[in-house]
Subunit: 175 residues, 2 copies
DNA sequence: AAGCGCATGTAAAAGGTTACATGATTAC
DNA sequence: GTAATCATGTAACCTTTTACATGCGCTT
């Protein structure tokens, strides 16, 4: 769960390849996704930015504004872009979680066309597998299991169906 | 993200209140939910079990089977059940993430009827809020944003709609 | 006897949160 | 003058992962 293969640092790098931002901007952006993914605290985003800077993956520029306090805007360097590509490639096989799927999806522009399709397909297969597994359970155990189990099973089936529909729709549009 | 208010330890206690299980069983159960939530590693579930034992919230019993290696089956004690109730009550206001919603949902039997309805409603309101926010963004920015942003927005809307439908359906059935 | 699924455990290292400290700028 | 939003940062503490170590029982 923590200390995972996929850390905040790498996702933030991806965000900065998309466009220059400050630590505060990054936190705000992630906050808007909070109902789907966990949002890192400032105590984790600022140190990540410092580490990225130390590694030469990003550069800083202080931007002053007439009506706001000054902010440090970070941009990805060419070396940072290369590092992101490496991370994206290395991530291929691992991490089947919703969170990592969404992070990758948000970084769609950094994938090649076929790379993106591969990722969507991978998720599709995964959701499909889980969907089948839950369906089998649902018919085998019928009304079996306690309320919580039945609710989660039911919820999973409903969400999996919606996600599958969406994935297939997007995949079709992209082809 | 890690070291969060909601730790594995508490969720495992909830699982054990539902029914006695071994560390291996717990891991397997969680594995089946991996496409929605992060699964803790053994290096986190076994120590959690030991801590729960030390606190007197669970008890152990070694169960031998003719065709399988012996296993340690943990059961929640009465004190453990009380602790879970406390945790469930304390959790009320905090943690709006999908993960914590699902963990609570899985523990549905430990809620009172009205308590469960409250929790489902809370999630409904939250998803609805995020849905509205994304919809506003979608109309305001129209085709704005890069591909990743548009995909995540679109994905969120689709999933939120499915979840909202499901929540309303369940809420209706429970009333 | 090798390999696999079941089963439990630990220590070091990594990564994250909490709590705190600080300060600019706008609006009331 | 004070509350709110914007903005950055640190250190102690906590939790988790990683990597390793071990062993039973069944099948090939």
């Amino acid at each position: 769960m923590a200390g995972a293969t996929m850390n905040v640092r790498d996702f933030i790098l991806g965000l900065l390849v998309r466009q220059p931002m400050s630590g505060y901007d990054i936190k705000s952006l992630l906050e808007s996704l909070s109902w789907l993914i966990d949002v890192p605290s400032y105590g984790s985003v600022y140190p990540a930015l410092h580490a990225l800077l130390e590694d030469g993956f990003v550069s800083v520029e202080v931007v002053t504004s007439p009506d706001k306090p000054p902010k440090k805007v970070y941009s990805a360097t060419e070396e940072g872009e290369r590092a992101l590509q490496e991370w994206l490639a290395h991530m291929q096989e691992t991490e089947p979680s919703l969170k990592s799927f969404l992070m990758r999806l948000f970084l769609a522009d950094n994938f090649s066309h076929t790379g993106l399709i591969t990722h969507l397909n991978r998720r599709r297969l995964q959701v499909k597998m889980n969907h089948s597994a839950f369906e089998k359970l649902a018919t085998a155990e019928a009304g079996d299991g306690d309320l919580g189990e039945r609710l989660v099973r039911d919820y999973s089936l409903a969400i999996a169906n919606a996600e599958l529909d969406w994935l297939e729709n997007v995949l079709e549009r992209l082809s």
